[in-house]
Amino acid sequence: MIINKREIAGLLENLAKEYRVYAPVEKDGNVLLEVIEEGAEAALGAATKKPAKEILFPQSEELFSYQLSDEGLRMEDKIDKTKTVAFGIRPCDAKSMILLDNVFHNDQYEDVYYTTRRKNTIIVSLGCSEPESTCFCTSVGGGPFNTDGSDVLLIDLGEKYLAEAVTDQGKEFLSKLNLPEAGEEEKAEAEGIKKQAQATSEVDITGLKEKLDGMFEHPYWDRLHEKCLGCAACTYLCPTCHCFDIADEAKDKNGCRVRNWDSCMFPLFTLHGSGHNPRPSGKERWRQRLMHKFKYFVERYNATACVGCGRCIKNCPVNLDIRQVLAEIKAQDTGSEVS
């Protein structure tokens, strides 16, 4: 299918009548995924500051509200069933959703807040013709035109987009839009662009997990965190980080349970009521962040919890660059060498 760029605004506007449409929007200096009403707002192609996980797993959300009184208990859960389209997110963000699916629907439990949104959301991602210098998706199993997690993939052909259905849901979605079929020439052009595109930055993670297997006690961690501030810029802005906190906000016996993003980089994250903290310093916390993404997640879900979006690199206030960390780890002597 072909979408003319001139028609994008109209198309989004039409979609917005039926769906809640998220698209990248320039807002007070940041590009964010926002619900749009007017198509012209969309800044397609721009990288969003916050990751797309936010539309399935918002930074703060009310899980349920309650009222307990003499009349009894009233509870209401707040499961969001709105039909949604995420339009123009990056393929790395789309891929992150597949990773998050593992977490929010594990072998035992289903997080209905996440899964309900997920089921009701169509992901239209836009391939990256010009990856940024901090992008290393290709090194972590993705790519500028990777379709994991997308229902539809858009390829920028200059004046127009070629829209490719990836899933059945995507096919159905596209078919309703009454778009012209792509010609052979356009298809060939799209293939050409896909082949050419390569993430600029490279990180070698082959054998990394095996390397990490023997590194828990390694002195490397002693200094890695030294300059780290222990903030949550890297984890909140990471599309695969999923940690959260649960808190009640209530007055008397009426209130609601809220969940908020949380981060393993914060000391309070693991602090026991007794005062004991299994991860008392930046050392343990940075090790956790790295190990979780490149070892623990692999052990649990057989996938690396990093999609190479580069957000943590661009946004770390002290320029602690995960690509360098990964390269340094590969270069460490761990005794049991795995090449």
């Binding site: 899980l63 349920f64 307990l68 208990l73 209401e76 997080d111 009426n254 649990r300």
Partner: protein, 281 residues
């Protein structure tokens, strides 16, 4: 309301708010199911925990102290340490609380049939051990297991949990109930000394047996070598871990030790399993 929403607690009625210890810091709460369906769905085994919620305050995880053979109720013994536990302590009988669970795994009692069972506990970490004892003493089940030895220590007599039940257990011959307090006190007729030393004295046999141990970190640290000396292998030593928890579902990310979530893959681990995990708890 979605019935399969693992975040939503079921309502239970507080029928008893009992001051368990002399220092009044531990209360035992007996809760009754409000809805029959909830009771039918709440199937648990000793070692599991639940999130207990005080409306208006929040929820916190506690080991379940009652046993499946005590139908209709759940029991929790809770120390007053945080917002939720303090609020619980102040609750009047008859109040409604929320319960979310059962969560986590359980002591592998099914696999221990035919074996002698040694239970070692200290301080107020005796809750899920009480559940275990209660469960094993069930006449329908007692015959499936060999000898049952329980060693339980507290700083002083007033800090022992479940004092009345312990007295009953001491009278029975299908359980060898040993209590100890740290230092001699007037009027105390039982043993004195720390749990590791008493374990050494009692010297339960490791042959065809398993040991379930739960207590403060120091107690575990010093009892472990004693058990090893007695011949217990890491596979025979079963423990329950404490961790900061929120979701209890393996999602919120804070309770992991390596790739295991204490809330979901634990809290019960054998020492052999723990030895394979990073030392971060």
């Amino acid at each position: 309301m979605n019935n399969n929403n693992p975040y939503v607690p079921i309502p239970m009625r507080l029928v008893k708010n009992f001051t368990e210890t002399e220092d009044k810091l531990i209360h035992t709460f007996t809760l009754e199911f409000v809805n029959k369906e909830d009771e039918e769905k709440f199937k648990y085994l000793p070692g599991q925990f639940a999130e207990v919620m005080v409306y208006g305050k929040g929820e916190a995880p506690f080991g379940i102290a009652s046993a499946p053979n005590e139908p209709g109720i759940l029991k929790f013994s809770v120390a007053k340490v945080g917002v939720v536990s303090t609020a619980l302590h102040l609750l009047e009988e008859g109040s409604i609380v929320g319960v979310r669970g059962p969560l986590g795994n359980w002591y592998p009692l099914e696999d221990l049939k035919g074996k002698d069972i040694v239970i070692i506990g200290g301080g107020f970490a005796f809750t899920t051990l009480r559940s275990t004892i209660q469960y094993l003493l069930d006449p329908a089940r007692r015959g499936d297991y060999g000898e049952l030895t329980v060693i339980y220590g507290a700083r002083n007599p007033g800090l022992l949990l479940y004092k009345d039940e312990i007295k009953e257990w001491e009278k029975r011959d299908d359980i060898n109930m040993i209590t100890t307090i740290d230092r001699p006190v007037e009027g105390w007729e039982g043993r004195t000394g720390f749990v590791p030393a008493v374990t050494k004295e009692v010297a339960p046999s490791a042959e065809n047996s398993a040991c379930i141990i739960c207590g403060p970190p120091v107690m575990i640290k010093f009892t472990q070598p004693v058990l090893e000396e007695l011949g217990f292998t890491p596979e025979q030593i079963i423990m329950s871990l404490e961790m900061r928890m929120k979701c209890g579902l393996g999602m919120c990310g804070r309770c992991n030790i390596g790739s295991k979530f204490v809330c979901k893959d634990g809290p019960v681990f054998t020492l052999a399993e723990l030895k394979k995990l990073p030392n971060e708890y």
